[in-house]
Structure formats: structure tokens, C-alpha cells
Amino acid sequence: MEALGLLLHGFAVLLTWKTLVLMMVGLVLGIFVGVLPGLGGPNGVAILLPLTFTMDPTSAIVMLSCIYWGALFGGAITSILFNIPGEAWSVATTFDGYPMAQQGRAAEALTAAFTSSFVGSLVAVLLITFLAPMISSFALKFGPPEFFAVYLLTFCSFVGLGREAKHKTVISMSLGLLLAGIGMDTVSGSLRMTFGSPELLRGINFLVAVIGLFGISEILLTMEERLALRGHAASISLRVVLGVWKDLPKYWVTLLRSSFIGCWLGITPGGAIAASFMGYNLAKRFAKEPEGFGKGRIEGVFAPETAAHASGTSALLPMLALGIPGSGTAAILLGGLMVWGLNPGPLLFVEHKDFVWGLIASMYLGNVVGLVLVLTTVPIFASILRVPFAAVAPMIVVSCAIGAYAIQNAMFDIWLMLGFGVVGYVFKKIGIPLAPFTLALVLGNRAEDAFRLSMIGSGGTLKVFWSNGLVGSITTLAILLLFWPVIDNLLARVGLTHGTRATSP
């Protein structure tokens, strides 16, 4: 197996003291970010990105991805001990995790959560190890039309399969694509939508927008709520850990099912949030006694955590293999790649072997180290919540400002961040999804370049998107997905399917 050899090489790249220290730092920061309200995976990664500007790309991605793993682990802590999901994807964990804590089984629930997170991401990393190189070598044959078709597929599936109102997804996406176009046009070199402003000449930086949209707006949203909390403190003993692990084989069906759901929704833009709910619901539906769910069943913790982690991890597959992020956080990591001077896409596997395999190896190692770390340090992280939000909030604001400024050394970006903070707050409150915006902003220029290069190649005819079997089927699939709700409705009317939309809550 060629992949195994390369993976071993990746471990060799990774096993230096410097990278291992960065990995620990990343994990600790990540758990911190996951535990704190008002900070999540994407914000944490975006805010801490400037720290990595002076590092080499491999160390940088190892640290950033470890922040991401840490945040995934951290979200479970507050869900179980305080009934407060630190992250949206750990909402489903509260259903059975908190009742378990109330029954004095907090340590058991936490062990279950961390272990299943580990299992979920392990399955996803295995998938990445063997599938990503195959996809990327296949994608090496892609020309501009194929790439545009894949971008189109990504955008269309957001509209067609997203749970939000369709017009809101369209608004969010077209706004992102428009803002991506501001500044110098990369094909012709002429200026667009700058209105004579020298500040807009640089364009709107993706990371500045993300810091505002996720960081600042999240603080505004958090402040609206009552921040008083009451919860259990727990420490985990080795006996409890071994007890849970001994029972693990009994739940292999749940673990496997949730891993598959997670991987599928991670690669397609369903995301960790949808995955965790779906994992939970299916575990409940297939359980022998579904009544027990919600009252402290351990499967109720296993199912959503496995799915969320599998999804969060596998979202990196399309980013690595094709340069298309499967989640908001993956989009930010992609933004990072460009800052470090790497060109995302299938060539990454050929030109930057050390980087890619170092990252994949760090997924294995980061998850093992992360599991040990969270199991041993839960009491410390739980007590972070004792720090009042009035102290945490201004610190987050300062960190956001540092992050936004550092990207281009521009004061204008701090104001832009503030503006995006307000936009994010309002959008979230009226249900305009932010993920399509983020994705559109980071992919906008690449999608447009691909489109225009295909046009130049074909002499200006749209037929190029159906010029061969491959590009034709991707384009057709994209259009089908765009109109999926309509098609699904029609099929339901003819009685071919039961109509997924009609039965969904």
C-alpha cells in the first residue's frame, strides 16, 4: 500500500519536539475554545491563525487542526456537566449526557463522549488516508471546466439540500460570491466594485470576514442569554474509563452507524450539526427500548458524538483532495493554506507531500493525544466556566481584533471585522445561514477563474460544461441537486418516494 508508506513518512515529519509541543498547545487552546461559550471551532481557528503566519506550513496546519480537534472534544464537556452545549454540534449530546451527570454518572458520560469522538474521527481519518489520495490523483486530470462543475456542485448542494429557507441560502451565497469579487480582477487585471476606495482595492479578506461573522457576532448573541450556570464537577478515574471501554463492543452497531452518517454528511455539506442529530435519532429509532433515551442512556452519548466527530474530520477530505472545504472550519483552514503560500487542490498531494501526510499523521496522533488529554484534565477545563463572561468577552474581542489586523496590517480590517460582526448577528437571528457565505467568499475567485478559463478555452460557449461524460455528469448532478426540493416533491406526488420533506419535522 503506497498510502501506508507515505503515512509513515508523515509520522516521521511529525515526530519532532517542536511539532509535538505545538500539537499540545493547539489541543489545549482548542479544548479551551470548545468549552467557552461565545467561541467555537471556526472562530478559534480564525482568531489563532495569525499566530501561525511566521511558522512553516506543516507546523502551522498541525497546530490549527489540533485546535479544531480540541474544540470538538471540548464541546462535550459543557454539554454533559452543565447542560450547555459549547458548540451547536454537541446539542444532541445534552439529551442523554446531562441526565447521566444528574444521576452521578458524569464520569461515565464524559468517557463515553470522548471515546466515541475518538472512534468517529478514527474512522474518518482512515477514510481520508485511503480515499483522499485516490480522489486527488483522479482530479489531476481535471481542467477548468471540471473544476467549475465541482464548484457548482458544491454551491448547488448547499441550496438544494440545506435545511434553511432556499432564498436565504441563495442570498447568503450570492453575497459571499459578490464580496469575493471586490478588488482586482485576477483574469483581466481591471478593478471591480471598489468605488475609488484604496481600502477596497485589496478586496475583502476572507479571514477578516470570518473573524467578524463568527467571533464578534457570537459574543453579541451570547450576551443576550442568561449566563448564570450551575453544573457538576467531575473527575474521571481509570476504573470508570476501563468500565466504559469494556462495554464498548456491545455498542459497535451504534458506533459504526454514526461513523458512516458522520463521514457522509462531513464530505457533503451537511455538517457536524446535522450529523449529530441524525446519529442520535437513528440510534433511538433502532434501539430495543427507545423510551430509555433522554433519561441517561449511554448510547445517547455515543451516537451523536461519534457522528459529530466523524463529520468534523471527514470535512477535511474534499478540502485536501479537491480544494473544496466541507465545513466552515475547513474553509478557514483552506484560507490558511493560501496565506502560507500553498495552492489548495489535487496538486497538493504531488507538490507538498510532507505537508499533506504530516497533516494526516497529525490527525491520528492528535486524536490519541487529545483523548488522553481530555480524560485527564476534565476538572481543570470544567472550572474554566467559573471565570465570568464579563472577563472572557472583552478578551475575545481583543483577540479577534489582533487576528483581523495581523492578516494585512490594516486598521480598515478592524472596522470591517466590526461590520461583519453586526452582519453575522443579524443574519443568525433572522435565519440567513453563514456557512454558504463563508464557502462562497473563500471559493468565489477560484470558481470565477475556472469559469472564465473554460470560456476562453471553449471560445465562449457554455456547451463546454457538457463536453465530455465526466464534466457533463457533474454539471447535470449539480443542476439536479439545485432543484432537488422540487424534484422530490414531484416524485412524492407521483408516489415514487414517501417525500423526505413532507415527513421531516
Partner: protein, 180 residues
């Protein structure tokens, strides 16, 4: 080490009341947002039309792609506007209550002042003022704790970014006086 069950309790002295009256409904905000987006779409669309949004021999001109995106954005916001206007007759949820609005402004106003202060006093002085002021005035935390936390955090940030990682932040008169 066996399982301990010490409760962690955190109070929130300035929490918003649950029965606070609504300031504005979600429907109204949706209408305003759609109108703003529509205006943005028209402005950007016009600018792209000016740049050139047609199709020449080599394919689309620079304004072509963004022009049609403006059209899509305009369409989406128009649809949203109509949907919001129609839904308004039925009922719509609260966008923000008075108590929530007050709390949001309690973060937003200091954050804006912080951005302004960064421009003139430099980031580190501004961040010291923001953290100390916010903890004292909004969080009602003891003055010495607020000042100490603010100083410690700002110092850590300075050492991490300016000294260790060479990421240079905006500076003001204080740093100039200290020779940094």
C-alpha cells in the same frame, strides 16, 4: 480518585429579564435587511454594468460574473422581502427584547469604542481599557481584579505577538514614549 460531585455555580448579576417587552419583531428586521441587500445589489450591479458585463469574443468581460450575481442577490432579497411582508400579517417572533438589546449594546458600544481607541492609542492601551472597563462596569467585578486581569492579559498578548511571533500591532503614544 473517585468521582466528586462539587457543584460549579456561576451567577449572572445583569442577566436580561425573561418578561422584557419586544423592541422590534424579526419580520421587521427581515424587511429592513432585504431592502438593504436589494440596495447593495443594485449599487454593485450598476458598477459592474459600467465595468462591462457583456460577452465578448474571449468569453465574459470582468463585470459579467458579478453582474449576474447581483441579479441573483436582488432576486433573492426581493423574494425575501415579499415573503416577509406576507408573513407579517400572520405573526412574527421577537427579534430582540428591550433587556436583551441593552445587553447587546453593552458589548457592542464598548467594542466600537475599542476600535476607535485602537486607531489613536494603539491596540494594547485600547485593550487594557476595554477589558478593565468592561469587567468593572458591565460585570461589576472588583476594581483591583479588573485592572490586574486587564494588565496581565494585555501583557501576555504583547509578549506573544510583538515579541515572540513578530506580529506587529498598531501602536500609539504610550508605546512611542516607552521606545517600542
Amino acid at each position: 480518585m473517585s468521582q466528586t460531585d462539587i457543584e460549579i455555580v456561576v451567577e449572572d448579576p445583569t442577566a436580561p429579564e425573561d418578561d422584557s417587552p419586544s423592541v422590534v419583531s424579526s419580520g421587521t428586521i427581515e424587511i429592513v435587511v432585504c431592502l438593504l441587500l436589494l440596495a447593495l445589489a443594485v449599487t454593485l450591479g450598476y458598477d459592474n454594468w459600467r465595468t462591462g458585463a457583456s460577452w465578448d469574443a474571449t468569453g465574459p468581460e470582468p463585470g459579467y460574473f458579478p453582474f449576474y450575481l447581483s441579479v441573483i442577490l436582488a432576486g433573492g432579497s426581493l423574494y425575501g422581502l415579499i415573503a416577509a411582508l406576507l408573513a407579517r400579517r400572520v405573526s412574527s417572533g421577537t427579534f430582540v427584547t428591550r433587556a436583551q438589546g441593552r445587553r447587546v449594546l453593552a458589548v457592542f458600544v464598548p467594542t466600537s469604542l475599542f476600535c476607535l481607541a485602537t486607531q489613536f492609542l494603539g491596540l494594547y492601551v485600547a485593550s487594557f481599557l476595554l477589558i478593565a472597563g468592561f469587567m468593572r462596569l458591565v460585570g461589576r467585578i472588583a476594581l483591583w481584579k479588573s485592572l490586574l486581569t486587564a494588565f496581565a492579559f494585555t501583557a501576555i498578548m504583547f509578549v506573544t505577538f510583538d515579541v515572540a511571533f513578530d506580529v506587529i500591532m498598531p501602536k500609539g503614544p504610550l508605546e512611542a514614549a516607552l521606545g517600542r
